[in-house]
């Protein structure tokens, strides 16, 4: 056995060396070599000066890391049509160049966040981080009250940092714009590579169906929808903010500026609801719902229109109508438009589009409330200092006359 003993001893040594060689080979083939390729791609395809992270955004990234966000939200859109349809263009190597360490993730309980930037408003994020289920009823996301001073509208610096970071996701590539895409595409030298080409063929860079758009088309909804289905959808998706009866008293109301619309206090045309559901309201927490079908949106629109109780219209003396018209022309038309279409000359200056009275008719109470208190979070200021009671009432009635949806 002495001879075999020596062979065994040396065999352990040989084995160890061979094994180490296997390991080194794996690191070389699957770590170092792909790293070099990716590094080359990054250098070739990246814009010359991509926007990195500010100090606040970096702190936000550290919070995202320590809370394990990446264990439910990936930051990697795969080169697959199913991924692209939900989240947008597949992730390019250069987009990840500031990620120390990467946050790609291997599990999706929540959606991918590679292109979350500019998808939801800041107040939406604060309210959602503070109490996720107050905004998204069926969410299972942990709440992070420790980032706030007691309520969603008192974010601490940590919450601000985190939201600032979330807003950077996908930003560099969006800022690079069409020129950036063209540059990356030509530097890619992958005209024949069907998969790589997918990175440039996405219908939209940010395919998130929740992203609000300032303008866009919307589907023509069927006049009637399935009420039962509509109620279900409303409870799951809308009631958390707009309240069970559309009275804007849902759990998520605190922290949202402007507050969610009081659906019971307004009449809406079907087209208006279609537009808002399809495009969201840019600048507010009202996201878009493009992941719902036209039938579902019609069902929702039906439920929303059902919240409004028609009240008998008072007959107004002609002098009040005249007064309302004069006050409106002098004070309101710059933003709300001469014909109440929300298309006044100052609209380009406004972060949030003013109400289009042709498709939305506020109740007298809502109209007066907006005139007296302003609409917090928008540029609609209180008018009590400039208009007297008669003028306020007159214009409150007057704007209702623009509505074109009445049967």
């Amino acid at each position: 056995m002495n001879g075999s003993g020596r062979i065994l001893r040396t065999s352990y040594v040989v084995a160890s060396i061979a094994g180490v060689a296997f390991f080194v080979m794996s690191v070389a083939l699957l770590g170092v070599w792909p790293g070099r390729v990716l590094d080359g791609e990054t250098r070739a395809m990246s814009p010359e000066h991509p926007l990195g992270l500010t100090v606040s955004e970096q702190r936000g990234r550290a919070i995202y890391s320590r809370e394990g966000c990446a264990y439910c939200h990936t930051q990697q859109i795969r080169y697959l049509h199913a991924d692209m349809a939900r989240f947008g263009a597949p992730t390019l190597a250069w987009e990840t160049r500031f990620d120390y360490p990467h946050l790609w993730g291997t599990r999706r309980i929540g959606p991918d966040l590679s292109r979350e930037g500019a998808t939801h408003s800041e107040d939406w994020h604060f309210a959602h981080l503070y109490a996720p289920r107050a905004i998204v009823a069926d969410s299972v996301m942990p709440a992070f009250p420790a980032l706030f001073d007691g309520s969603a509208d008192h974010p601490r610096q940590e919450a601000r940092d985190l939201v600032a970071y979330l807003d950077t996701l996908g930003r560099a590539r969006e800022l690079a714009g069409p020129e950036g895409e063209a540059h990356a595409r030509s530097a890619c030298q992958c005209a024949a590579d069907e998969m790589k080409q997918m990175a440039f063929h996405a219908a939209a860079l940010n395919g998130n169906p929740a992203r609000a758009r300032r303008q866009g088309d919307s589907p023509k909804l069927p006049a009637a929808g399935n009420t039962e289905r509509g109620r279900q959808l409303y409870v799951h998706n809308c009631a958390s903010c707009h309240g069970g009866r559309g009275e804007a008293d849902g759990l998520g109301v605190t922290g949202l500026h402007p507050r969610p619309a009081n659906l019971a206090g307004h009449e809406y045309t079907v087209d208006r609801l279609s537009y808002v559901l399809w495009n969201g309201i840019a600048g507010t927490a009202m996201q878009a719902w493009r992941d719902l079908s036209a039938e579902d949106l019609a069902a929702l629109a039906q439920v929303v229109r059902g919240f409004h109780q028609a009240a008998p219209e008072p007959d107004l003396p002609a002098n009040i109508v005249d007064l309302g018209g004069r006050v409106y022309t002098a004070n309101c038309s710059q933003c709300h438009g001469e014909k109440g279409g929300g298309d006044g000359s100052a609209v380009g200056e406004l972060r949030i589009a003013p109400t289009d009275f042709r498709s939305v008719r506020p109740s007298i109470a809502e109209s007066l409330r907006a005139l007296r208190n302003g609409v917090e979070g928008t540029q609609m200021a209180p008018w009590t200092g400039r208009l007297n009671e008669a003028e306020l009432s007159a214009v409150a009635y007057y704007v209702r006359g623009f509505y074109q949806g009445a049967q």
Binding site: G19, F22, S26, Q76, T96, P101, W104, F144
Partner: protein, 479 residues
């Protein structure tokens, strides 16, 4: 070459105190790790039930759960087994009992305990199987070096005469873990984005493939011949399996990022290696099952029963892994609960059953240790039921999620549809946690030295008595 011959040669004393210390630490930290997992699973059902203090937030619990299972439970259990096995495999003592105290202290009080606390306090890194902060990683590497100094020299000393495949796995496992650990824990912090992810992917697989699998296989390869008192069926298959494993496992890593921007040739290489790995596992498992022939699927000896079921779980989880790495499957089930089921089948099924088998086997041979055979029986059956329930449930959940993700349904539909499955998963914690409590009782209650009686009772060994007539009958039928 067989175990029975080794038993005849006078073996050096086993450091039973260190076996006991690491064994107990393993079970206690296991219960804590399982606690983290249960809390995390309940938070998916009732996200606000704990009141949302930051140290109990889901992400931090998730970090502590997996790090605890890998480093605390399996790490301690492996060390306990090595203190038992290395002297028997080599005919020499481990390097130094005093070093053993250092290793025990370092591993539990400089790695596990502070690692857990730091994660809960918000200090961690967001890298899978590498969540403890970097300062802890330094101590892990130090611990691995100590383990190598403690356990490997006996294998290389003069006069070694016997070759056990178990030894190969011990040597391979410890050395490669030391090499792979820094790659997964330090490199992605230095290399950004997609490049870092490539290294991270390697470690995700190496943590399981180079640390957990070799040491779990070392246990199975040790316990089966030691408990059945028959040699391994084929040393050729043992060696073939070993070499294929160490060739193929490290090449698997990129299969965690299929359809990503990482070069397609690296992805395809990893996918191919993943398929071949299934072939390797079939070889290894065939060899182990043939070594078990005659003992039945549920052998009488609990240690052997754990090892046998570990072998079967190993086969299932590896074939599953080979399949789910393939592009057609991966594009659907990746990111879903299917993968969570897969990892539990690996860590809770294969690795935990092997570690439990190794612990019980070593425990039976500590003359002064308490041993409660009934409790261990309960532990086995509760864990068996729990694993099957949980993995089946999560696999179906994954398929349901995959189907919704492929459709046009809104994202939240997949969350809503997963909830009943998550409820079942949380309920599966009842048998699993119950099984682990029974396991703790099995090794801490009962009479001192009862383990030795358990060995005596399980000798008798149907194998030879039953298999010989069967073989004779088969032979006569063929002729």
């Amino acid at each position: 070459m067989s175990m029975s011959e080794a038993v005849k040669t006078p073996a050096p004393p086993v450091e039973t105190g260190l076996v006991y210390a690491h064994g107990l630490a393993a079970i206690v930290t296991l219960l804590i790790s399982v606690g983290f997992g249960i809390l995390a699973s309940v938070e998916l059902l009732l996200p606000d039930f704990a009141g949302n203090p930051s140290w109990l937030s889901w992400g931090r619990l998730r970090y502590d759960h997996t790090q605890g299972i890998m480093l605390a439970w399996l790490g301690n259990a492996f060390f306990a087994f090595l203190y038992h096995a290395v002297p028997l495999l080599t005919g020499r003592s481990v390097t130094s009992p005093r070093l053993g105290h250092w290793l025990f202290g370092l591993w539990n009080f400089a790695v596990v305990a502070p690692g857990w606390l730091l994660v809960l306090a918000g200090f961690s890194q967001p890298l899978e199987w590498a969540e403890f902060p970097m300062i802890i990683d330094v101590f892990v590497v130090a611990g691995l070096v100590l383990a190598i100094v403690q356990f490997l020299p006996p294998f290389f000393s003069r006069g070694l005469e016997d070759l056990y495949v178990s030894s190969w796995y011990v040597i391979g496992g410890l050395i490669f873990t030391l090499l792979a650990y820094p790659m997964g824990n330090f490199v992605p912090e230095l290399v950004p984005g997609a490049r870092g992810a490539a290294f991270s992917g390697l470690w995700i697989h190496d943590a399981v493939g180079l640390f957990v699998t070799p040491l779990a296989l070392a246990i199975v390869y040790f316990v089966i011949p030691a408990a059945t008192r028959r040699p391994i069926f084929s040393h050729f298959l043992s060696m073939l399996g070993f070499w294929l494993l160490f060739f193929l496992y490290p090449l698997n890593g990129t299969h965690h990022y299929v359809f990503s921007v990482i070069p397609m040739s690296a992805q395809i290489g990893a996918i191919t290696a993943s398929a071949l790995l299934g072939v390797d596992v079939i070889i290894v498992v065939a060899n182990l099952l043939l070594s078990l022939r005659g003992s039945g699927v549920f052998p009488g000896d609990v240690a052997l029963r754990f090892a046998a079921m570990s072998t079967i779980f190993y086969l299932v989880v590896s074939i599953q892994g080979s399949v789910q790495a393939q592009m057609a499957v991966n594009q659907a089930i990746h990111f879903s609960d299917w993968v969570i089921g897969h990892s539990h089948l690996a860590m809770l099924g294969f690795a935990t059953f092997a570690a439990a088998g190794g612990l019980v086997h070593a425990w039976q041979r500590i003359p002064w240790a308490r041993y409660n055979a009934r409790a261990l029986d309960w532990a086995y059956w509760l864990l068996f039921a729990g694993v099957i329930l949980m993995v089946t449930d999560l696999t179906i959940a994954g398929l349901a999620e995959a189907r919704l993700w492929q459709s046009a349904a809104p994202w939240l539909e997949s969350v809503r549809s997963a909830r009943p499955y998550w409820l079942v998963r949380s309920l599966s914690a009842v048998p699993i946690a119950g099984g682990f409590v029974a396991f703790l009782l099995g090794l801490t209650t009962g009479q001192k030295g009862a383990g030795l009686q358990a060995i005596q009772q399980s000798i008798g060994l149907e194998p030879v008595r039953e298999i010989a007539p069967k073989l004779a009958r088969a032979a006569s039928e063929v002729s």
